[in-house]
Subunit: 226 residues, 2 copies
């Protein structure tokens, strides 16, 4: 299977192409942070110092670009989940997880929207990793409940509720993060077991997998078009 002769360098990609790809990603993060993930593609290209065509060659759709730009953050999320599962105290793990993801959402502007708008369900690779994430999270929840720290009526879908709500907040208020921290603290507090807790309304009938996909328009999260 060795690469046939004449063709290119190391990984079969020309050096300048690889360089440009990286430049585009950096620019995309910056621009998305500044103007939201709906910012014109041309702006990203200009910022990266490349032509539009180059941008489109590397990332044929806005979605691909968004995904590429925030792949690292996504991985951090995945890692946080793994670590949470590995934590000795499952409640600690749970808390860590929520805080980490929310911190990411608040630090990397544009990421919240990207996170929610996320991947079309067709992207099988991502669908798979999402499924796994969901399963892992459910495990974490069950353990934390077994330990007595997480309220028994917490439902895994509540994570989606938290993330969407926090995303809305972070998007609306790209400030120093005080509001975000405040919200997270309130929520974590109400997730703890407490004899005084009154029963909750029924959980939302959604899986982590189902919602961002179905809801979000292909690019960005706001519906439009007549």
């Amino acid at each position: 299977m060795a690469e046939s002769s004449r063709i290119t360098a190391r990984d079969g990609v020309r050096a300048d192409a690889r360089r440009n790809r990286e430049r585009v990603l950096v620019a995309a993060r910056a621009v998305f942070a500044e103007h939201g993930i709906d910012a014109p593609m041309a702006t990203v290209a200009r910022r990266a110092g490349v032509g539009v065509a180059t941008l489109y060659r590397h990332f044929p759709t806005r979605d691909a670009l968004v995904r590429g730009a925030f792949a690292q953050q996504m991985e951090t999320c995945a890692r946080a989940l793994t670590e949470a599962l590995a934590a000795v105290d499952p409640w600690q793990g749970f808390q860590q997880l929520v805080e980490t993801v929310c911190a990411l959402q608040r630090e990397e502007r544009g990421f919240p929207a990207a996170f929610v708008a996320a991947f079309p369900e067709t992207a099988s690779e991502h669908a798979r990793s999402r499924q796994r994430a969901e399963r892992d999270f459910t495990t974490l929840v069950r353990r934390a409940q077994a330990s007595g720290a997480l309220r028994a009526d917490f439902h895994p879908s509540d994570l989606a509720v938290v993330l969407l709500a926090h995303c809305g907040l972070a998007t609306a208020l790209p400030d120093d993060g005080a509001a975000s921290r405040r919200l997270v603290a309130y929520l974590l507090q109400s997730f703890r077991t407490d004899p005084a807790n009154k029963p909750l309304p029924p959980p939302a009938a959604l899986t982590l997998r189902s919602l961002p996909i179905a809801t979000a328009s292909p690019q960005g999260q706001r519906p439009s078009r007549a």
Copy 2:
């Protein structure tokens, strides 16, 4: 000061104009609900069965239209606050208020965005009513805290946190409202006084007045433009 002779009917507005205005408002609510408050003006006009010019005459800017479309909901919010202040049990009032506003946000799609994007600070009339709302709410909070039901470290600005977060959720998930109810229940729970409560991070340094305005772009809530 009687209206001078020849001119028009009752309130100085021709009957057909008044009729059209109403039709536009109805259409706007429908379209905004369906496509978000960024929906093309022309779509609203078509839905209302009027020409664009007519729409623009009645509502020169998209903002004016949004404001007009949701004026009723805004008033309901204001009334809820008044009622909350009048309630015997201030905690009950507080709870009612949060639940009413959130219910509005979830029922009238498009309203959350309108609520947050709200008015440019120049609209003095609205600025004034907003100021009053803020003052009243602060009073309510103080009373509820004095009664011992609302945690002492609840800060009036936390209302903004709640509303923005809930707005994000409601916008992302225009479903049956299960998620919304769930979020509200969690939050209200964590607002109650509880000896086990751990200290919160400091409140966000924002007033009810400052945030939606400063943050929101003139139309819609998402920044853009390069």
